[in-house]
């Protein structure tokens, strides 16, 4: 396709038997116009009441695939025709994937803003609230506490394991850890919650145990493998020359790691940690099981049920009271808050990675 784009003289055998460059765009617009005309006729005939935009774009794109294939088949031959068809399909696949993302973000913002903007949403809990009003402060606090504790547990374990894998690990143990860390990334989140529940209900012999600490433990199970994987990748990027230079100066290995390897890869590690936090902060299922839900504030991780944002969204949706709209509004507002937090974490992570990554001289 792109091989013969030289400005052609009057007759050029190289571009003979080829569709002109603009043909794809023209055919696409033409097929949209044709389907738009068809749908307009349908509307004027009174079969449907409104103009079907989605249908126009969808069937227009299908028509484009057929039209460009046939056109190219008769002008350029079957091989080129197939190539054009695949190009159209691959591009369509990408656009299709964008649709749910756009729709999801748009719906969340539109449905979430009304309750999100009420002054009480971030200043009060749901205690004694029936119907409209109230807020999600208890859920925000719970999410911060539980995710914070999960981070405090996961980061040292994950980071030390990553150091073991890159700096010390040889042989069978290292291979086993690498393998099972990868396997652990695939543990369903609800299984992590069940694990925490099974563990603590045995330990405290309380068959109905619910508390925030258990939620932090279950989130750690999900978070540790992500931290290990990302930190390991970052530590591997540290050039060996730096380590060798430190050894040559007589620096002990542990000091080399602490003072040379870790500072060099710090930006990448922090980025990885931020991204792993954004992964677990939206987890609902494990917290629903081990931390439970409540309408009141709870600042004690080791006692009583503790609300979190994802569970807040779920319970507002699942246990709608008589004023259905108020509950739905709060659910969407909670979802909006969650998405904002996750996006913010991701953005900060990328910013850190961009600003502080070591310049490796390339």
């Amino acid at each position: 396709m792109s091989t013969t784009t030289v400005a052609a003289p009057l007759t050029n055998s190289l571009t003979a038997g080829k569709l002109p460059k603009y043909s794809a765009v023209v055919v696409l617009l033409a097929s949209w116009l044709v389907t738009a005309a068809v749908f307009l006729i349908v509307q004027l005939a009174g079969i449907s009441t409104s103009f079907n935009v989605a249908g126009t774009l969808f069937f227009g794109t299908v028509l484009y695939c057929i039209a460009i294939y046939l056109l190219s088949y008769f002008v350029e031959g079957v091989r080129k025709a197939k190539d054009r068809l695949v190009t159209a399909l691959v591009t369509a696949a990408f656009v299709i994937a964008l649709l749910p993302l756009v729709s999801l973000v748009a719906t969340t913002v539109i449905n979430g803003l009304p309750a999100f903007l009420t002054p009480t949403f971030f200043t009060s809990s749901q205690r004694n609230v029936v119907g409209a009003g109230g807020g999600a402060l208890h859920a925000v606090i719970g999410t911060l506490f539980i995710t914070g504790l999960a981070t405090v547990i996961s980061v040292p374990i994950g980071l030390l394991s990553a150091i073991y894998l890159t700096e010390y690990g040889r042989g069978r143990l290292a291979r086993a850890i690498t393998f099972f860390v990868d396997v652990m990334t695939g543990i369903p989140s609800i299984v992590a919650g069940l694990f925490a529940f099974a563990l603590f209900s045995l330990l405290f012999s309380d068959p109905g145990i619910r508390f925030g600490f258990g939620g932090a433990i279950s989130l750690s199970v999900l978070m540790i493998p992500v931290v290990v994987r990302s930190s390991e990748e970052m530590l591997k990027l540290v050039p060996n020359e730096l380590r060798e230079a430190a050894y040559a100066l007589g620096v002990p290995k542990w000091l080399t790691i602490l003072k040379v390897v870790l500072p060099t890869s710090l930006a990448g590690i922090v980025t990885g940690i931020m991204i792993s936090i954004s992964r677990v902060i939206g987890e609902t299922a494990p917290l629903l099981i081990i931390s439970g839900f409540t309408a009141s504030m709870n600042y004690d991780l080791f006692k009583d049920r503790m609300m979190t944002l994802p569970v807040f969204v779920y319970t507002q949706y699942a246990n709608q009271g008589t004023d259905t709209q108020a509950y739905l509004d709060r659910a969407w507002a909670g979802a909006l808050t969650l998405i904002l937090i996750v996006m913010l974490l991701n953005a900060i992570a990328r910013l850190i990675a961009k600003l502080f990554s070591p310049k490796l001289g390339r």
């Binding site: 299709i96 073991y164 143990l173 860390v181 990868d182 099974a198």
Partner: protein, 314 residues
């Protein structure tokens, strides 16, 4: 001038700091293995009562644990299978678009946009599925049943709410899409440029180049990416729990209001109210789910690792 230094004297001195530090890292690493073992062990211990539970302990009319868990396991596998059926072709298309079709400068940004899908919490997907997707698809389902009802999969009566297993599978497909896409993209980018240039130089079109050089090279990568996606789809909880209107039974129809539910969704819906042996039964179904996903993930990782060994990637 011959200095005969004894072997022992040039060995590095063992410092206390070194020993503490290396021990700490070994302990942390081993802790991960211990946690995985503990997950299996505690689930197993807590689910033992479920295997000897009497019919009275089960919701519904299951005679024993296996009769109870079978429809759930079926629903889990069936919804994950449908989700992958939708997601894999799309993901390969997207990955090809990003790696071989999109302009170079845009490619990374486009990949980041797809990755954003992975960052959306599953509970938000659940809200979206039930608030937007299900009502949107319901009229489409109605006409599908009208026209294609003679195909057993699309047999009626159509669900009035759109909360069917097909809607769930579409939501699941959207959720696993970024995982499969990310891995496929990496693998496609690793195709040796020489292969690609050679086939282009021989006169291949772009699609022929992809079919002859990129896809054969990435085949095992696509398989393992799909299996990782499968693992995610099997364990996904909230989206299924919120979107599906469940009735635990083995049923293949996609569009009716009778839908098989999944293990994870069943646990999430019933756990808050469960007590006594009911809790143990739910824990036991969780163990079944854990074993299934563990097996899927291990197979996927073995395939990835084997491929890594001969391609020299990483």
């Amino acid at each position: 001038m011959t200095t005969t230094v004894a072997r022992d004297s040039i060995r590095a001195p063992q410092r206390a700091g070194d020993r503490v530090f290396s021990t700490a890292t070994v302990v942390a690493g081993s802790l991960i293995l211990a946690v995985l073992a503990a997950v299996a062990a505690f689930l197993l211990v807590q689910s033992l009562p479920a295997f000897v539970a009497t019919p009275a302990d089960f919701n519904g009319d299951a005679a024993n644990f296996w009769a109870y868990v079978w429809p759930l396991a079926f629903g889990t596998l069936w919804s994950a299978f449908l989700a992958l059926l939708i997601a894999i072709p799309l993901a390969i298309g997207i990955a090809l678009f990003i790696s071989h079709y999109a302009p170079r400068k845009l490619a990374q940004g486009l990949g980041y946009i797809i990755d954003l899908l992975a960052a959306v919490p599953s509970v938000v997907f659940g809200l979206w599925g039930i608030g937007v997707l299900a009502p949107l698809l319901q009229p489409f389902y109605t006409s599908l049943v009208e026209w294609f009802g003679w195909i057993p999969l699309f047999a009626g009566p159509v669900s009035g709410t759109g909360r069917t297993i097909l809607t769930v599978s579409i939501v699941l497909a959207v959720m696993v899409l970024p995982i499969i896409t990310a891995i496929c993209r990496e693998i496609f980018l690793q195709t040796p440029v020489l292969y690609e240039e050679a086939s282009l130089a021989l006169g291949a079109t772009r699609w022929e180049m992809i079919a002859m050089a990129v896809l054969p090279f990435g085949r095992s990568g696509i398989i393992s990416a799909s299996m990782l996606g499968l693992g995610r789809a099997l364990g996904e909880t909230m989206a299924v729990a919120m979107v599906l209107s469940p009735s635990p039974q083995v049923i293949f129809q996609l569009l009716t209001s009778q839908n098989p539910t999944t293990i994870a969704a069943n646990i999430a819906l019933n756990f808050p109210e469960a007590h006594g042996t009911g809790v143990n039964i739910l824990l036991a179904t969780g163990l079944v789910l854990f074993v299934i996903t563990l097996a899927v993930n291990m197979v996927a990782r073995v395939i990835i690792n084997r491929r890594k060994a001969f391609s020299g990637a990483n």
